[in-house]
């Protein structure tokens, strides 16, 4: 295994910005241990694409797993090419000297199974048919993902994560890690998450799915074989998603009722800036994301409910966990509101776990978890500093 970033950072160090992990290169792990899925089906072997930042220490105890959210991927930090317009999706938090400090931690981020960025998913060839899986790719759960990430963890020579961290759907994976593999996770950092989706959340997901499925170009998910993509449906799904990720305040601050051309046109073309923004978000998403993957990811969100197997008692569901927890929420997040994070915290307290909880004043809505909000990062930094210090002390002992 090689830590691609460090190699690259040495080569391209001069071009790297301070605090950036620099140029990074994804790697692929072929896992040949069959994965039995919650839906009852099996995947015999699969690829996981991942990136790493920083170096794994000799004791292999400084690894941090980053779990991505609905439309995320393995590219969490740095750039693939110097000319990339944007760095990885959580570059604000990961890098040398950043809250998740790559000078101290070996950070791993995996494109989840079923994804469309290189890990085995609907775009991959189905060995049984020789054609892309498309809609035949098995429905996955958060637990399936965690099981596959566990296989990768072993491949990387890691027996225990110093921390598993993620926001939104990523936070759900963190909880599942703490429940499924208590011995393999020392700290669980659960950000802007929920113990399960509300009916309203599921409703939003269903509208997104219907937008995709009813697109005439969807072809029951076999659009690839028809040489098309359900562009309009995927775009609508993303536009809807974006509305729920932002707060009313954030939209007002960002767009208000500003008109693109300064006056109303009495037509249905793009007039308001917010329309322009949403259409841009929608169309650019179509070019980088697969519709079948989107459907799978939303289902994984809907199904997540660890308490369901514990008489609907979250504290009982979390009882196996031995990790210490940090839970963070954002005041204007209405998709996964602070009330949902408080449910997690209360359950952790009730089952006697070690937990800290920060409720961050933020106007950006659900998206706030990606922003470098000073207080939020101060808490993250403080928490990860403690983890690093404990590792150093254990190393000396």
């Amino acid at each position: 295994m090689s830590a691609s970033t460090t190699d690259n950072a040495a080569v391209h160090g001069a071009s790297a910005q301070p605090g950036s992990v620099g140029l990074v290169e994804p790697q692929t792990a072929r896992i040949d241990t069959p994965l039995l899925l919650d839906c009852g089906r099996r995947i015999e072997s699969y690829d996981l694409v991942y990136e790493t930042y920083g170096e794994l220490n000799e004791r292999a105890d400084n690894a941090v797993l980053i779990c991505h959210a609905l439309s995320g991927d393995h590219h969490a930090a740095g750039r693939h090419r110097p000319e990339d317009r944007k760095p990885g999706w959580w570059d604000t938090a990961i890098g040398p000297g950043k809250p998740i400090d790559t000078d101290r931690f070996f950070v791993v981020c995996v494109n989840n199974l079923g994804g469309c960025k290189g890990s085995t998913g609907p775009l991959s060839e189905n060995p049984e048919t020789g054609r892309p899986y498309g809609p035949d790719f098995p429905i996955l759960t958060v637990r399936d993902w965690v099981n596959s990430q566990h296989a990768l963890m072993r491949r990387l020579g890691i027996s225990r994560w110093a921390a598993v961290t993620g926001g939104s759907l990523g936070g759900m994976q963190v909880m599942q890690w703490a429940i499924s593999y208590p011995e393999a996770i020392a700290h669980a950092v659960v950000i802007a998450a929920a113990p399960k989706l509300s009916a309203q959340n599921i409703a939003f997901n269903e509208v997104a799915r219907q937008a995709i499925i009813t697109d005439p170009d969807f072809h029951d998910g076999r659009y690839a074989e028809h040489g098309v993509i359900p562009r309009r449906g995927l775009m609508l799904a993303r536009m809807l998603g974006h509305i729920t990720y932002l707060s009313d305040d954030a939209m007002r601050a960002k767009f208000g009722r500003e008109l693109r051309s300064g006056k109303v046109q009495y037509g249905f073309d793009v007039e308001f800036q917010v329309e322009s923004y949403l259409r841009y978000q929608g169309t650019s998403f179509v070019d980088r994301f697969d519709a079948n993957t989107y459907l799978l990811m939303t289902k994984a969100l809907d199904y997540f409910d660890p308490a369901a197997e514990a008489d609907d008692d979250l504290a009982t569901a979390l009882a196996p966990a031995t990790a210490r927890f940090l839970v963070v929420s954002f005041t204007s997040d209405w998709r996964f509101s602070p009330a949902r994070s408080r449910e997690i915290v209360r359950a952790l307290l009730a089952s006697g776990k070690s937990v800290s909880y920060a409720e961050v004043e933020a106007h950006q809505g659900h998206d706030a978890f990606l922003m470098p909000i000073p207080y939020y990062h101060q808490v993250l930094r403080g928490y990860f500093d403690n983890i690093a210090r404990d590792l150093t002390e254990e190393g000396r002992a």
Binding site: S356, A358, E359, D385
Partner: protein, 201 residues
Amino acid sequence: MNRPDWDIVTGWIREDARVLDLGCGDGALLRHLIAERSVRGVGMEVDDERVARGVAADLNVIQADLDDGIRDWFEARSFDYVVVSQTIQAIRHPERLLGEMLDIASEGIVTFPNMGYWRNRWQLGVQGMMPTTKALPNPWYNTPNIHLCTLRDFESLCEGLGIEILDRAVVDQNRRSSPLLRALPNWFGEHAIYRIRKRVV
């Protein structure tokens, strides 16, 4: 630096106890209790900066506003002690908080600045102005301390709420105790420290 009430609070807490510190600030008292009594501690604090400092000090801190009530956060009897150190006078509904505290823990420890302290009485009774002292440094128009009381006020509230007082200590700013202090605590105690529990009926 230890605050005047810490030694007495520490003396009342058993080794290895489960302690909830309401309004824990940056967690200094919790750290003290962990060091001195090996307690398993949780703090609750609303202020961002203090929460961040508590987390950075490796403490378990829950960010929440005590004025929103604490009962929903914790199971009944999930702590041995709930400590409210120099905080109760800044709470919107102290009487509600006291009740909730004693649902959550078997014992409560409450410390507050005594409004009946002679300097306060002098400033109010003779000088005719709201007191400002070391313990109550803020001017009346800009102070978090909205519910000041004397020892007698507190004890009569406890009586009304069915709360039993197990211990009481008073100290002055320098943590000295004296015969005068013991004889006339409501005059000479600058800080009051109580150990309380629900009266068994």
